[in-house]
């Protein structure tokens, strides 16, 4: 059965989201676009298994993510060389007056373990529900929640509670508040 014009149109419309997700996974713009290309080819080949009217974006994200991890397994860890712009440029400095520089944030995000990074991206940026993210990552909803939570905590540590704040009031108050957190 041929690909329908609607399927093609929806595929095109999802490309920006796929690219954004791919960049966050691979941390490299060129590799990200290769990943998107692979995803589109696979989706095209498998279009018959997609049911029109269901969540195409989630279906495509699942394919992209599977592709990413299968490439990682094939090539080994050395693929994790990222664009210079993301890694090298700067050390994370304690933020001034709580102001977060975007470059600092990017670098902090890059330091997260992959599972935490993808979880916080899917929930916080791609706009998926916990249930959707869990399906995409093939894990339990509770796992996604805890990954997002750990990602958030780690980002806070990297961005705010580094340097002198380690033994400052921030660390204490966040411990106190932390016990209350969901």
């Amino acid at each position: 059965m041929a690909v329908t014009p609607e399927f093609k149109r929806d595929l095109l419309a999802t490309i920006p989201s796929l690219r954004a997700f791919a960049v966050s996974l691979s941390q490299n713009a060129d590799k990200a676009d290769d990943l998107v290309q692979e995803t589109l080819v696979k989706a095209w080949d498998k279009h018959e298994s997609f049911q029109m009217g269901t969540n195409l974006k989630a279906w495509l994200f699942t394919i992209l993510r599977n592709e990413f991890y299968s490439q990682m397994r094939k090539r080994g860890r050395e693929v994790q060389d990222s664009d210079g712009i993301m890694t090298e440029r700067l050390a994370v400095h304690p933020s001034q007056e709580g102001k977060l520089d975007l470059a600092d944030f990017r670098q902090a995000l890059e330091k997260l373990p992959e599972d935490q990074r993808e979880a916080i991206i899917l929930i916080g940026a791609s706009g998926f529900s916990y249930e959707e993210a869990a399906m995409i990552c093939n894990c339990a909803v509770g796992t996604i929640k805890s990954r997002v939570s750990r990602a958030r905590t780690r980002l806070q540590e990297l961005l705010q509670i580094s340097g002198e704040a380690d033994y400052g009031p921030d660390a204490i108050s966040s411990q106190v508040l932390g016990s209350n957190a969901a």
Binding site: M1, A2, V3, K8, L12, I15, P16, S17, R19, A20, V23, S24, A32, D33, V36, Q37, L40, V41, K42, W44, D45, K46, E48, S49, F50, Q51, T54, N55, A58, W59, T62, I63, G98, L100, L102, F105, R106, L109, I120, I121, I123, G124, A125, S126, G127, S129, Y130, E131, E132, M135, I136, N138, K145, V148, S149, R152, L155, Q156, L159, A182
Partner: protein, 81 residues
């Protein structure tokens, strides 16, 4: 084609995924996970979105529209899966 095995699995997973997701959506759309977990750290949520949107709003390279056109052509009248 010999990619069918592996790809088929992924695709199957995708279908199940989508079904369950639609169920989940009906039940939990109001949960607003971002507000729940990222809300108290709105600065983190904002930066996350800002970073993501940099790519999201950037122009889609021509290679992708070309790719889809090629796929469409390759499909031709004779190709059946």
């Amino acid at each position: 084609m010999d990619t069918v095995g592996q790809g088929g699995q992924a695709a199957e997973l995708g279908v199940n995924t989508v079904k369950s997701m639609n169920d989940a959506k009906d039940a939990g759309a109001a949960a607003q996970p971002t507000a729940e977990l990222l809300g108290p750290n709105s600065e983190i949520a904002r930066k996350l979105k800002q970073l993501y949107d940099e790519v999201l709003t950037s122009e889609v390279p021509d290679r992708f529209t070309r790719l889809l056109a090629e796929l469409e052509q390759a499909e031709g009248p004779r190709r059946e899966d």
